[in-house]
């Protein structure tokens, strides 16, 4: 059963269509990259999939939840969101942010240390999130998702601000989480050039999907 099924999905804000009839099916345990220029509708698509904006028209079913029925809150607990602005409380430490997320979702606190180890922030667990570099903030956001164990990962331009080492790390992490059963949809300005991943690549323009290149072997 697909994780995402969109049929003519429309999202509008103040009368302006952000998504103008998107048809999309995303199968479980896959990695999909949504590309396109600024204003193409990439972030709006991710926000729709995360239940963060309402569906204005068409049909949308994500993780088995019909978004037209309006139960977006139920969907949100099953997705993980990483925005490009940072995704946590700046005045809390790295560990306190993760403790908050774990408690909110009733996840075991024992998941925090392995997640910090995995993203390379074990030595900075008591550092205020405000003091992290852009790349470290991205890693904290990923640790937040690891602690959450979300079914559907929605990453808005996760490669921005990452150096080569960071990009390689993210490639490996995404390969692992997809291998572990999660589904990942991420946005990027350009198609990924990765030696580890060979994702399906969607091209968006004007709020529509205008290209769809299936994934394959890296």
């Amino acid at each position: 059963m697909p994780v995402v099924t969109l049929e003519g999905a429309v999202v509008s804000a103040a009368g302006y269509p952000l998504l103008a009839g998107v048809d999309l099916v995303v199968e479980p345990e896959t990695l999909t990259v949504v590309t396109g220029p600024n204003g193409a509708g990439k972030t709006s698509l991710l926000r729709l999939l995360g239940g963060l904006v309402g569906l204005s028209g068409g049909r949308a079913e994500v993780c088995g939840i019909d978004l037209a029925a309006g139960n977006r809150r139920a969907l949100r607990r099953r997705v993980g969101w990483l925005g490009h602005e940072g995704s946590f409380y700046d005045d809390l430490s790295v560990r306190e942010n993760l403790v908050f997320a774990a408690r909110a979702l009733e996840r075991p606190l024992s998941a925090i240390d392995p997640a910090l180890e995995r993203v390379g922030l074990a030595g900075r667990s008591e550092t205020s999130a405000r003091l992290l570099s852009a790349g470290q903030r991205r890693r904290l956001g990923l640790a937040w998702l690891l602690v959450r164990r979300a079914e559907l990962w929605l990453l808005d331009e996760p490669y921005a601000s990452l150096d080569d080492e960071g990009r390689d790390f993210l490639d490996r992490l995404l390969a692992d989480v997809v291998g572990a059963g999660a589904t990942v949809v991420l946005s990027a300005h350009d198609p990924l050039r990765s030696s580890t991943l060979a994702p399906r690549t969607l091209a968006m323009a004007g709020g529509r999907v205008v290209g769809d290149v299936p994934g394959g072997r890296p």
Binding site: A74, R76, V79, W81, G83, E85, G86, D91, R103
Partner: protein, 219 residues
């Protein structure tokens, strides 16, 4: 709902303990405002005492507005809002948690301002102590009302509307609180004013529990 409220309140108070915005910015503002009010009244000691309850609540109103803005700001960053939204927290619990944290902060600042009222405005210590419970209830009601109005003004570009929008809601609370404090200083009955504050507290908590989710969705 209660577990969510405690989680959110703990998070907000921990953020305040880290950032110390209320301690180093809002509290000094409140004390300076109280001092300026005392200077504006001039040296007449009796007049100070009579005006102390009104001035205390006037300064408390300003402090509450700053506190509400700060409480809303914590959740304000777009990425944070989206991430926290995907935690799927019970909105009623979030409202109660934010109101509880704000109430704790207002109680702490209120205690300092009451001491200032005694020291700077010559309010009688015994009457001020007698007014403490009514002040606590009124500040709790202000915190609940402020958290609700903060959510109403939580969208981008609307935070500056908070004073204008919240004013009609805050006025009855301020009048009831001032009358209760005044009655305590004069040795009169407090209960009528207490009742107003208690009813307002219950009403704003009820409204917040019902409406916070709707307001949050409109951000």
């Amino acid at each position: 709902m209660i577990a969510t409220a405690l989680l959110v309140a703990g998070k907000d108070l921990r953020i305040e303990a880290r950032s110390r915005v209320l301690l180093w910015q809002v509290l000094p503002f409140g004390v300076v405002a109280l001092v300026l009010a005392g200077i504006a009244l001039g040296p007449a000691r009796a007049g100070h005492s009579d005006a102390a309850p009104g001035l205390f609540y006037l300064v408390t109103l300003f402090v509450t507005l700053l506190g509400v803005n700060r409480s809303t700001q914590i959740e304000g960053a777009s990425g944070t809002r989206s991430s926290v939204a995907t935690l799927g927290l019970d909105p009623a619990g979030v409202f109660l948690g934010k109101a509880l944290a704000l109430a704790v902060e207002l109680w702490a600042i209120g205690a300092v301002l009451l001491a200032g009222s005694v020291l700077l405005l010559h309010a009688a210590l015994a009457g001020t102590l007698q007014a403490l419970p009514s002040v606590a209830v009124t500040l709790g009601a202000l915190a609940a009302a402020g958290s609700l109005y903060g959510a109403l003004c939580g969208g981008a570009g609307t935070a500056t509307l908070l004073p204008a929008i919240s004013f009609p809601g805050f006025v009855p609370l301020l009048i009831a609180g001032e009358r209760a404090y005044h009655s305590a200083l004069a040795g009169g009955a407090l209960w009528q004013w207490w009742l107003i504050s208690l009813v307002a507290l219950a009403a704003y908590v009820g409204l917040g529990v019902l409406l916070y989710g709707v307001l949050e969705e409109s951000w």
